[in-house]
């Protein structure tokens, strides 16, 4: 991850960085939550995922690529409320990058090559989380709150409540498999782009998958521009003949400019229509044992 000192928590919980998210304090606070059952488990399931998202932001990112990969997770987990323009602004603003990044790169981004000391940088990241990311999370919840399924008691003949899915072990964001589907495709598309392509044909094929990952939110003419009209762009995407220094930077910028905003729109569209499905990671499924 980063080259900072690490302290592992004594009980083997999430790692705490020296200038990162204080999981220990957070867990202690949350341990006190009332123990009732969650009638709409999709909501606390999303909260859990969003908490980790915020923690990663507060921890900071090794490099710009790591930030973009986080941003892809963020647009899905905020159901598109943290949008493309926010990501784009952060990725292109020097002082923002110098604060969000914790690796050696941060110096290059900072004004006068003089980045903030780590502790101050962390405080700024906390500010970013609360000013920008948290409201996006709240907006996501506002969209989710009434479409999240309520698993109510069966009243009447008193046979008791059917199992309410456990929010702490759900696989899908907000318990919507459709979001896992686009999350996985988007993650793949982003990584492929940032890694660079071996040929134009690969770029062409990638655009097709991109269309699925972004639910057709990427404008159609982007592919034409890249493959036909702008040979310089294409040259920086294809790394088979060598990857100049600016290639990596270019691909990251390309992602921030065109791809991530489309991903955010897609997440928004999908979450509005997605169906809910419980899938406990621990797989307490109902399937009876084999009838032998």
């Amino acid at each position: 991850m980063t080259n900072q000192e690490r302290e592992l928590k004594g009980d083997g919980g999430l790692e705490e960085l020296e200038h990162g998210f204080r999981w220990g304090d957070v867990d202690e606070l949350l341990a006190d939550l009332p123990d009732g059952s969650d009638l709409r488990p999709a909501i606390p399931a999303l909260t859990r995922d969003q908490r980790e998202l915020i923690a990663r932001l507060v921890d900071g990112f090794a490099d710009r690529r790591a930030f973009l990969e986080w941003a892809q997770d963020a647009v899905v987990l905020t159901l598109g409320e943290l949008g493309g323009s926010w990501v784009r602004s952060r990725a292109f603003t020097g002082v923002d990058m110098s604060v969000l990044l914790t690796g050696p790169e941060r110096a290059q981004w900072a004004p006068d090559d003089d980045p903030l000391p780590p502790r101050a940088a962390k405080r700024v990241r906390l500010g970013v989380a609360s000013l920008d990311v948290l409201p996006a999370c709240v907006d996501a919840h506002r969209h989710l709150r009434w479409s999240a399924t309520e698993y109510t008691n069966q009243d009447g003949d008193g046979e008791g409540v059917q199992e309410v899915p456990d929010p702490t072990s759900q696989r899908h964001p907000a318990m919507r498999p459709a979001l896992t589907e686009i999350d996985e495709k988007q993650g793949w598309a982003l990584r492929s782009l940032l890694d660079g392509f071996r040929s134009e044909d690969a770029v062409l094929a990638w655009f097709q998958v991109l269309n699925e990952a972004a639910y057709a939110e990427v404008p159609g003419e982007l592919a034409t521009r890249v493959l036909v009209e702008e040979p310089d762009t294409l040259a920086l995407l294809v790394t088979a003949n060598g990857d100049p220094r600016e290639g990596r930077f270019f691909r990251e910028s390309f992602a921030a400019e065109y791809i991530l905003p489309a991903f955010a729109r897609a997440a928004r569209e999908v979450s509005d229509r997605a169906g809910e499905q419980a899938s406990d990671e621990t797989r307490t499924d109902h399937s009876p044992i084999r009838y032998k």
């Binding site: 698993y151 003949d157 032998k292």
Partner: protein
Amino acid sequence: MSLQGLSQADSEAEVRRQLEAVTAPHESSRQARPDAARRLHNDGERIYKDFNIQPFHKYLWRNEQRGKNVASYPSAWVGALLHLEERELELLEALRDDGVQYEPGSPRVEHPALEEIWEETPLRAKTLEWVAADDGYRTGKKAKGSTTVDCFTAGGTDLQIYGEPGSGKTTLAEFVALTKQQLNNETVIWADSLDSSLTSERCEWVLYAPYTTVAVPAHVDVEVTVHPKAPGVSSFRVELEEIVRDVLEYESPLDLVRQLEPGQFYVTYPDPTFAGCEDVSSFAYHSPGVVDRDAEGAPNSVTPPNHWWFAFWAARVTHDEFLHWTTLLLDEAGNLLDPDASKDEHQTYQKLVWFMEKFADARKKGVSLDTMTHAITEIHEKTRRKQRRWLTMNGTAPPLGKTLPGEKTCPMKIDYTTDMDKGEAQVWTTKNYASINWPNLKRGVRLDAEIDVSFSVPGVDA
């Protein structure tokens, strides 16, 4: 099994050998010898052993250990298979309050009140022991005051099984039959269907043949043809008696009811001449002999043979000639309970309405109706209103969020069944549901052939 057994039978002699092995009758049960003086076991106590599967109460207990909802929400599946009389419900409540224990390791029951049942039907007694052995912590999320016996109502039940071809409905039907025979010593009637040429193609009950009585109308000719699968081997005829344990001939629906035995499995074919139908059912049944397109006042078309089942329903439900637990297994139920039924010259719609009005009586008389269709909507809406239990097969989505006829909805919020494998399904009432499975029934014998049964009415063109 030798390698010889792995290759397909490729001569008539080999197929005949297989046929003999597959259909060798089980002769030592009470159902095989109803007149035997001494006490014999029931078919239901043997069939499951023949298929090498565990008794149902063991399956329930093992699933209960793992908190599976087939055991913790028994009204879904257990309620579909185990039938109880009112006095038995009272007995079970008393046993429960007495703190009866279910002992998984022993086939015997401990409590004296169950001994008598155990003498007659040991597996039923053991299952009742499981039902009663509930201290309030089995069902649901430890909902106090709600126990397994509370999930039952007395009398017969209904179940609509629906799913695509290939999902394993036939095996499931066989499993339901053998389990009901095991638990209730139930008389199971498999309503085999005849097409318009009065043929039942590719009979699916052949593995069950050692325990099967085929019931056929008395004055109709039957032909059984064996079609070997191997190319180049021609089809050949056999006698019906050769391939099942018993053949029963009935003169009328009431005559069939009078001949029924408790605990017996019947593959039953309807009578295309409708002999005796108008005695029990006051609707129109036009047999081939009376149809004449040109004569005035005569019916124009022959009543479909399936209508015979309406008359059988009347005979079993409205005449108290046989009151033992009876299940009617109706495949392709949409052919009988047709959503497009009309008030035609066969009074199809009227028969259907009457059939459903008798549903409550049927339950009280210990009759259960298990129907099988491809889609849930394949049965007439009037019938669907009365439905209380459904089974969604693997590969089919349940009607989440949809209102079913009779203002009913399914209790699930999530689709479990679409991704299920063959041999799995979900059973549900309007209140509760359970994921279930059943074994792939194999007996270590194989038949590399298909069997057709066809009928012809003497004196009438086929």
